[in-house]
Subunit: 269 residues, 2 copies
Amino acid sequence: TAHVIIVGNEKGGAGKSTVAIHLAVALTRMGKKVGMVDLDLRQGTLSKYLNNRKKWCEKFNVTLPNPLVHKIEPSVARHLDEIEADESARWAHAVDTLTEAGCDFIIADSPGSDNYLARTAHGYADTIITPVNDSFVDFALLGEVDPDTFEVSRPSQYSEMVWECRKRKAIFQKKTLDWVVMRNRVAMLDSRNKRRVGDGLKKLSERVGFRLAPGFAERVIYRELFPLGLTLLDLTEHGSTVQFTMSHVAARQELRDLIMLLKFPSLAG
Amino acid sequence: TAHVIIVGNEKGGAGKSTVAIHLAVALTRMGKKVGMVDLDLRQGTLSKYLNNRKKWCEKFNVTLPNPLVHKIEPSVARHLDEIEADESARWAHAVDTLTEAGCDFIIADSPGSDNYLARTAHGYADTIITPVNDSFVDFALLGEVDPDTFEVSRPSQYSEMVWECRKRKAIFQKKTLDWVVMRNRVAMLDSRNKRRVGDGLKKLSERVGFRLAPGFAERVIYRELFPLGLTLLDLTEHGSTVQFTMSHVAARQELRDLIMLLKFPSLAG
Ligand SMILES: Nc1ncnc2c1ncn2[C@@H]1O[C@H](COP(=O)(O)OP(=O)(O)OP(=O)(O)O)[C@@H](O)[C@H]1O
Ligand SMILES: Nc1ncnc2c1ncn2[C@@H]1O[C@H](COP(=O)(O)OP(=O)(O)OP(=O)(O)O)[C@@H](O)[C@H]1O
Ligand SMILES: [Mg+2]
Ligand SMILES: [Mg+2]
């Protein structure tokens, strides 16, 4: 069976689509067969990224390692019961199709909002990866903090949603759910805010049970290649003109460190 | 009647809530009566920000300039026709209530997704302010670019939505809609990506008819005060311990420049 990875955070702009595409390209380049599902039916950042990649390959007549994509069509029903039935069925069909196609991994990119399709997908996750900005605005979706002590007072809505998924997975599937949280777009400079968010995440990780990954710094290389559909891992290919820089080398290390921390069973040994 | 400002961008994490709170506090401190509506019913960043502010004031027994908030309850209906009817009515009621309360401005913070409530509110706008990250991932919601020339090929979904609002406003209300786009979280360092996004925004502004505002840099001061419910404009008040820095002074100027560009009728003279 395929290992299902949901890149999720109901907070907008945390970096879900960015993490999803980089993880997918990395795993594909490691020889894994990767299936992908874009759950952000309206915005479709992931779909656009992969479409740009396809056009790049056609234009330069090159072959790049590509994940296998399964498109989910939005429901056109008008009653939530029907819409939810459609979405459940289409998600299940996506997972079945990609599994039958021999995928080692299925990576689903969630939207930056809480909706039924995203929750349904979270329920299937073996691994949930949650990027989060270095900010208490983002942190607030995971946990509440005391404004004086910056102690974590309690988990909030997204943590509760993941907790619910974990409980159901344990009861109905007798399986565990690995939840990994990673800071994204971290500034190079230290600041009191950075230290406080870091401390908050450490304390919250113990309370709600996620593992804390090293994360990605704010680096233009993570976003500037979107129109070409490329990632930093593709930059040894023909047709790319972006120079290797220190930031690029550091980004490669960040991505490698993330994958090592994820400890996927099929990557062991 | 109140001047309705929608802070909108269906792209997640563009900085809508951040711009909304800073604009609201700035206008309130200029002596204007400001009403606010949080349209992000699930995430509620703006509501949390204002709630933190209220707790801060209670704790230190101080009075801070505060906008007047009108809360919208989510619909519990299960059919889209009923949900949309509820949302239309509750939005209209919010505008009426805040207008009758004597508000000069009503600022509504939109969610980072395209939904009926956000679209309905956009239809009432006198001014739409759209923050956007310095990134073609964000740009993609406004317009498509050619990956070679970085020329703008055509407007995309969010531009089309605003264009639709503008048309209807002209036909049904015989009024104009001012659309202002501003880059947010702009890096201090120059880069080819920064120049390309800047050029793309200039060209797109002429094509789809928005005015381009100077925008905000990436500054910790814009986010570190969220747990206290304060903004940089409040930092001369009792109880705050954040030091004034060059970044703080520069942020004040950015906010001032934005307001000057907005040229609200009631601020003229
Ligand atoms: N590590 C990074 N360094 C630089 N830019 C980044 C990084 N991660 C994300 N970005 C940029 O930040 C913005 C938000 O990222 P992204 O779109 O991946 O987030 P998201 O969580 O998928 O958002 P949404 O909630 O809208 O789906 C984009 O403009 C993206 O290019
Ligand atoms: N100019 C800025 N400098 C530093 N941090 C910023 C700036 N603007 C926004 N942020 C941070 O970026 C993140 C996204 O900002 P914000 O939540 O305001 O965006 P949004 O468009 O309201 O997102 P959503 O789509 O989820 O509603 C937050 O962590 C916020 O604190
Ligand atoms: Mg996304
Ligand atoms: Mg917001």
